[in-house]
Point group: C2
Chain length 333, copies 2
Amino acid sequence: MDAVIRSNTMGEFDLIAHYFTRPVQRAALGVGDDCALLVPTPGMQLAVSSDMLVEGRHFFANTNPERLGHKALAVNLSDLAACGARPLACTLALSLPCIDAAWLDPFARGLLALADAHGCELIGGDTTQGPLNICITVLGEVPAGQALLRSGARVGDDIYASGTLGDARLALEALQGRITLAAPALASARQRLEAPTPRVALGQALRAIARSAIDVSDGLLGDLGHILRASGVGACVDISKTINLIAVSAEDIKATGQFGTELLPQCTLAGGDDYELLFTAAPTQRSAVAAAAQASNTPVARIGQIEAAPGLRLINAHGQQVVQRYASFDHFA
Amino acid sequence: MDAVIRSNTMGEFDLIAHYFTRPVQRAALGVGDDCALLVPTPGMQLAVSSDMLVEGRHFFANTNPERLGHKALAVNLSDLAACGARPLACTLALSLPCIDAAWLDPFARGLLALADAHGCELIGGDTTQGPLNICITVLGEVPAGQALLRSGARVGDDIYASGTLGDARLALEALQGRITLAAPALASARQRLEAPTPRVALGQALRAIARSAIDVSDGLLGDLGHILRASGVGACVDISKTINLIAVSAEDIKATGQFGTELLPQCTLAGGDDYELLFTAAPTQRSAVAAAAQASNTPVARIGQIEAAPGLRLINAHGQQVVQRYASFDHFA
């Protein structure tokens, strides 16, 4: 077969293959056999992650297909970034109700553009007829022993977040009609929801600097909770700092009812779908973290500290504890 | 997280994880972080394959879940077998309409039993709510340069098939009411359809012996066609030999109408869902092939020859060409 994607149903679904067919780059055997073959670099560990995106749950049926192709790979690359791994390759398994060139062409374009930007070769996969479902597995590599793990946080570590937090959630609220955003603000927030930026360069730059890391997919507090549990520590987060991490300004938002003043803290602390990196590093590493951020052209903000006492405490600018609870939302609940 | 499977939706879907949670075996980092980490063996190439199974297309809604868990992994292991690769690890992405312990428990049992039998560690994945969809990616390894490819067949090679062919298709015909099978025959054929045996040991035993290989998923002739195209050769297949590869005996079948005498050749040549190995080897390797078959406890049969003339010719026991065409069926069309 001269196609990237092996179809496991006969007939026209084989045609899908041509949308994803590319010349072999780094793989020893890229396409068209029972398996793809990769040659791991000696001394490197292989990092592996799979994510599945389902229509109506992770994206709306009318989502721009080019952005969807981008996002389906971005959420996987974000997992590699959180481990400090360099992307190598990916497989794509795709279930589609029907073959629609007007959808497949931009979907493939969006996916492959991001793959190319990160040197992540599409080496194989599967296509079939069924309800729309996109499953990508990414493979990356990281020097042995240097992967960033959730379990490495230590008492006294600074806590950092990259980029912006909360805009994706704000876009979702607007698209679902619960708030109104000024048009330019909606456009930029929607870009964050539909085409997130995986922090691949930052993740690699943080190897040997950060002590723990995770990507923010379910919301800052929920994902920080994973680090705390894995590391057996607690934390204090300053919400006067996290509130500044949202890009959309409060003046662009017309919120209603139950939201109002709680909308921005809720979105930044527990919004979900951000795909930023949340990481910890010793205070002695502050200049190294700043250098890594600069080298990877990714802003980072220091938002709190790891503490010995279990649990997660929120404080305001005056150091006073905030009692409000911010539960992670279910994406499309 | 202390779970194999990272859920990307909050709440009760995290509970699914416990069905797939196992102690880490070979992986450097198995579970509960953003990525799993594997340490490839020096000198080995990594073999990667993904397959997606959709309800109603690849299996019936009422399929025994233990068998379905087995099959979902088996079809992936079969791809590793076809390359001569040794299984290392797999990821599982699972979309489920709801959480049903009565389904999940046996599904996990079937999948993990086969994984254990082949040393294929479940190292991560994803669970979400949605239409039933099972996507598995397998990782294996093979000594550099020794992978069995579709492109290696040479003129004069013998063509072999492993195990039995056609029984899975016969079971499907019976389950869909187009034929009737005696109960014991149906039970054994159904086992082939629902719980195929990936020929992992045979594939590895054939390294450096076979010149080309593929696994039979769409039907013998269709999959042989992939070898012929990739290798730039033709072939002649003796249907008096392939007809003997079906395990169910003709006396157990009550066929009707259009099937009748064509049923058995159709099932063996173009049935699909067999997951046997189809491979070629030089005639000088006949005793080596027999030894590999014996060492892996897998029967193999010599069914034809690779020829220079393009195309695929069928002959009968008298060497006369057969003109009947056997198109591969669509699985559930």
